[in-house]
């Protein structure tokens, strides 16, 4: 299953949550995966969604880093 995270295609396992797509994205980029829990995530319409949303429900997501890390 593929979904776009900040415009990058990320392949995740069937049954994955948005959290898993973000973890994979961070791991690919060599970023600290522990930051994922603090992200604010939006669907393609710009609505906020949570990290436990099913990835299969979203074709594309975007995230914002918190202002203070």
């Amino acid at each position: 299953m593929i979904l776009k995270v900040n415009r990058k295609n990320i392949e995740v396992f069937e049954g994955a949550l948005v959290r898993h797509a973000l973890l994979s994205y961070f791991a690919w980029k060599g970023l600290d995966v522990s930051l994922v829990k603090n992200l604010t995530v939006y669907d393609r319409w710009g609505h906020e969604i949570d990290l436990d949303a099913p990835a299969s429900q979203h074709e594309a997501i975007k995230f914002k880093l918190p202002k203070t890390i």
Binding site: A16, L23, V33, D43, I49, D52, Q57, H58
Partner: protein, 475 residues
């Protein structure tokens, strides 16, 4: 004087008539509550307050009521606390979400029987042997307004809800939109038609173009946080993110039995505020969950380090799934040791508190090797524990990067790097091991603590004294 009296009476009659013609339907809805039992005292207070203003308040759930808190999900009757709390709040109906199947067909049937509200889903037909009392729709009389509530749930790529296939056998599922269209007769029978949807926001919007006879869609599944509601093709759509951070109060105004206004506002549930004290008492009762003290197995010898526990977790993955190999991120084993003696449900929850799903993959030895290294790199340079194999890991002392990894099978021979193996891990470990491989894997629809719990129950007695699966070399 007579003229004034006549005018007063006329005005009173006019006001009364217009009051009869203008009516309001009020709905409080939540979705994807995922066992957020700690929010129920607040939700109860919100419901009580709205009910005081609007006695005919309709309270609905957009599905996925359970799965998210072990206090609920590991209760003696799994997920019963949520049902009891929803009964107490006064829910009128829920739709079946994919997580409602998490304690299998019989578990769901039992929960439905314990609910004081109907469970709706038009696009599922369980075999009669389950005695599962799911209804397609229910018509409610809300202060003289007839409200038809039709339930429908999402189907994944397999044509079934996203759950373990074994929990869905002998239940027929049908296409959501085709099914919904069969219930168009509700338009004739009711003043308001409400679709209680566990389809997700995208489908709710898409379907709204096909459903001009529906007035409102109370949604769930995609955890989409709307600012109250949105109008799409004239249909009011509502949904919130998970765990009862918010609920939605929708208002439909009817004049001469026609809807003239639709609006929705979100209400913050999470956080401090007034609470319903009966629900506090009920929550306290459930929180002292005796199921947590249940003994699953006896540890014949103490677990003296994290690695021995990690080996046991990996053995559980293999024994409970028939996998050949397994791995588990080291950071996911949250206790360092355990005394010899009883191992309880509570011990498992402390050991693995994250409610990760078990993931099955079919990967070659080489692909697995790359996944283990990626997991190491992304899990604070801690090598994952493994089952069905042992690993010899050489790292560079300068940057702790792995310079060499040798994997041995259970017979002590080097793992065949070309052979494909059935591997099971947890969802976190797989997510932080994003390598290029032939199979991304799929969820088995069971959480890893459940798997460990089952393993201990099946074993009865365990001993991992001196067991090691990793050999670390620094040079």
């Amino acid at each position: 004087m007579k003229k004034n009296l006549f005018l007063s009476l006329l005005m009173f009659a006019t006001l009364t008539a217009s009051a009869q013609e203008r009516r309001e339907l009020h709905i409080l809805s939540a979705n994807d509550m995922h066992a957020a039992i700690e929010q129920f005292p607040r939700l109860g207070y919100v419901a009580d307050s709205l009910r005081a203003l609007y006695p005919d308040l309709l309270i609905l759930s957009g599905g996925d009521n359970r799965s998210g808190d072990p206090v609920n999900d590991m209760f003696e009757i799994p997920a019963y606390p949520m049902v009891a709390l929803m009964n107490q709040v006064g829910f009128h109906a829920t739709v079946v979400g994919n997580h409602e199947f998490d304690s299998n067909q019989y578990g769901l049937a039992r929960l439905i029987d314990l609910s004081t509200f109907p469970t709706l889903c038009a696009n599922m037909e369980p075999d009669p042997k389950f005695n599962m009392h799911v209804k397609p729709y229910q018509i409610f009389d809300c202060g003289g307004i007839r409200v038809g509530v039709l339930g429908v749930t999402a189907l994944g790529s397999m044509g079934t809800p996203e759950s373990h296939p074994a929990r869905l056998t002998d239940i027929k599922f049908s296409d959501p939109l085709e099914t919904i269209q069969k219930y168009q007769f509700l338009r004739e029978k009711c003043d308001v038609v409400l679709l209680l949807s566990h389809l997700g926001y995208d489908d709710d919007v898409k379907f709204s173009a096909e459903l001009p006879w529906v007035d409102i869609i109370v949604g769930g599944h995609s955890h989409t946080q709307l600012d109250g509601g949105e109008l799409h093709n004239g249909i009011l759509i509502t949904q919130n993110s998970k765990s009862l951070k918010y609920a939605t109060h929708s208002t439909l105004v009817l004049e001469d039995n026609k809807i003239v206004e639709k609006k929705a506002e979100r209400i913050a549930v999470a956080g401090a505020g007034e609470v319903n004290k009966t629900l506090v008492a009920l929550l306290n009762y459930f929180s002292e969950n005796p199921a947590f003290k249940r003994v699953l197995a006896v540890a014949e010898t103490p677990f003296v380090c994290n690695e021995e526990l990690g080996c046991m977790v990996c053995d559980a993955y293999i024994a409970e799934t028939g996998a050949e190999l397994s791995y588990q991120n080291a950071g996911g084993v949250r206790i360092e040791s355990h005394e010899a003696g009883d191992m309880t449900v509570g011990d498992v929850m402390k050991m693995d508190p994250f409610q990760n799903d078990a993931i099955e993959l079919h990967v070659t030895g080489k692909e697995l090797s790359e996944m283990l290294i990626a997991c190491y790199d992304n899990d604070k340079q801690r090598f994952p524990y493994v089952g069905g194999m042992t690993c010899e890991i050489t790292t560079n002392p300068a940057d702790s990067k792995i310079t060499k990894l040798i994997i041995f099978d259970k017979d002590g021979k080097k793992l065949n790097l070309k052979k494909t193996y059935k591997v099971v891990s947890n969802s976190y470990s797989v997510a932080v091991s994003p390598t290029k491989r032939g199979d991304e894997g799929h969820s088995l629809g069971i959480t890893t603590p459940d798997m460990i719990k089952n393993y201990l129950e099946h074993q009865g007695r365990v001993s991992y004294e001196g067991r090691r699966c990793l050999k670390l070399i620094t040079k």
